[in-house]
């Protein structure tokens, strides 16, 4: 951690900000310069990218049938009040 260089530990803390495009131009440059020359941190960023990819393959649960039915009943009640 000398002068303007980012340490690997800092890189690890900043991965999400980097992927969110939330780093300042200067920080982004320092970040990218670091990972260009550091296998460990390059692997780290890749791990996060693949983690996001895995998570993106999940689908959300479904509502249970009773809950769904109750909601539909509520909807129909609302429609009646509106004369629909």
């Amino acid at each position: 951690m000398i002068g303007n260089e980012m340490s690997c530990r800092e890189i690890v803390d900043l991965v999400t900000e980097y992927l969110e495009d939330a780093l300042s131009q200067r920080e982004r440059t320092r970040f990218e310069e670091h990972i260009a020359g550091c296998d460990g941190c390059d692997r780290t960023v890749e791990q996060y990218r693949l983690t996001i990819r895995l998570t993106g393959r999940l689908t959300e649960d479904q509502l249970s049938a009773p809950v769904r039915d109750a909601l539909l009943e509520a909807f129909r009640g609302w429609k009646r009040v509106r004369d629909l």
Binding site: V12, E20, T55, L58
Partner: protein
Amino acid sequence: MCRVGTQAAIEESALVERLRAGDEATFLELIDRLGPTMLRVAKMYVSSAAVAEEVVQDAWLGVLRGIDRFEGRASLRTWVLRIVTNIAKTRGKREGRSVPFATLSGAEDEPTWDPSAFTQHGEGSGGSWASMPVDWSGIPEDRLLAEESMSVVQGAIAGLPPMQAAVLRLRDVMGWSSQEVRNALELSETNQRVLLHRARAGVRRAVNDYLETGTSG
């Protein structure tokens, strides 16, 4: 970027119109799309799954009663999530339930990567890798994307503090934008990002532990 946004806005506008006109298929589509998320959010604030279901019901009634006034300034799904968040919080307070921030969001000072993986001060330049992260790009796709990996991811998310899980699901599972998540869950930009970072770190660690057991040596 504008075209995608406009297309989504047009579709949403049509959906709102159909809802106002009492179209059941539209309502069912909406509750299928948003209901599970609403339930998870409600559960963060109230005492039981049963109460959470009541909260979700109340929220949908709130949506229907307010649908004529919905102006589309926020996305529909953001608006719906805000409604359930507010009702859940109110209900939670009425139940006398106050969940500590750290329980919902996780401890603030917990490191997202094992500190022993880095060199300490005095060992050359501190903060460098003492043990190299695994190279995931060397793992065959069919292993990385296998059912077992996916259930490790599921398990990891289920074990996250609820607010971290909520942000992660909305952003990375459901693809909501950072702004939508902030609006829906009433989080600052920093807050949202920290929660997202911690959540992803938790999942990454679980997946890494799982993958490493097959790639040791």
